[in-house]
Symmetry: C2
Subunit: 211 residues, 2 copies
Amino acid sequence: MTKSKELSKASVARLQLLLELLEQCEREQRQQITSSEIGEALGISAVNVRQDLFRLGSAGRPRVGYDVSHLIDLLRRLFDLNRPKRACIVGFGNLGRALAGSRIWDKAGYQLVAAFDKDSSVVGMELDSIRVRNISEIFGVIRAESIEMAMITVPASAAQEVANMVTAAGVKAIWNFAPVKLQVPTNVVVENQSLAWGLVALSHRTKQVGD
Amino acid sequence: MTKSKELSKASVARLQLLLELLEQCEREQRQQITSSEIGEALGISAVNVRQDLFRLGSAGRPRVGYDVSHLIDLLRRLFDLNRPKRACIVGFGNLGRALAGSRIWDKAGYQLVAAFDKDSSVVGMELDSIRVRNISEIFGVIRAESIEMAMITVPASAAQEVANMVTAAGVKAIWNFAPVKLQVPTNVVVENQSLAWGLVALSHRTKQVGD
DNA sequence: TAGATTGTTAATCGATTAACAATC
DNA sequence: TAGATTGTTAATCGATTAACAATC
């Protein structure tokens, strides 16, 4: 409905930082903020801020700035944070368990409703009202529970197979922690969060500076 | 020493995928690979591959392609994976614990040599030969152990303070899991790995497709 | 030699930055 | 009104893609 021309990935990252900042402003009872204040707080230029907000369909007022709560509302809708989205974890190892109890699901509008593993010593485990099921149940549960997102935290060698299963079951988004580029149907979104890639990128960048 | 003009972030990401691919080729005893084979496997264009390798200072041979083991060597040096780099974890919660025992440290050339927390119920804990110390010891230990990288997995509200401590102690790189843009001296590298940001980005992108 | 593939420059595309007009 | 700030177009910068020469 909005005429948004598709924001760049970099722009989305900046707007996420902006949302954090605005929420803090709201806690401090601030009602307006200018582009240069935002830029300073976020370490980017004021022009960059205005461009981002312009593309978003901005709503600032000259001499006053932008309305904090209106912008929060705009960003929350942009990121689709208000709609409850049902999610599951596939692979209940250390990382899966660490995230199962986390508050970030709620922050992003997700509800964690199921977890799967193939290891029988893990299946049956309960954590925060989530019972771990056998991976063989995955198709039926995703359908029955209307799960639209799967977090994949299985070993790299199993990740593609899991991706095939969850997309076949109707999942529309994959949060992929395996260091693998997944092949999925074009209507499925994959967000890669491989920690291994992050760590290697850090190693690379540290070297550059050291040179 | 290499004349590298600084590869773009996107290029580094592609080259990481390439390294995985090459290591698989090596396991399969393949010795050569062409840019179009690489492109197909990685889902990018062959030209893009050649450009990346050109900037890297490439070494392919017309009609033959690139030498697998030579390219692996080049990439491992590019990412600085061979040199052992000493690292610590600050904040030994669920996420910190999940990563402490992980194999990714080794894959990226890091050695995890210390962990810190401020919670007395966690301090003293041992995991994989790492004993968790009180955060008050952080300055001395980083110096004594020549730690050059700190993984920060503390709550967002404490992250900046921790960043100040570790940079004061001489750390050159921070792997930041807190959803905060850290302010650090210019010679310190920060790689952001906030899972919250990844999850929000996924939510945003899912919405776009759904429209 | 002919043909396939890389190396390298040029063209295109997109994102950021600059400039300035519009507005409160 | 004057001045500060946003809205919006134009210019710059950088990354990707295309073109083709060099090479085995």
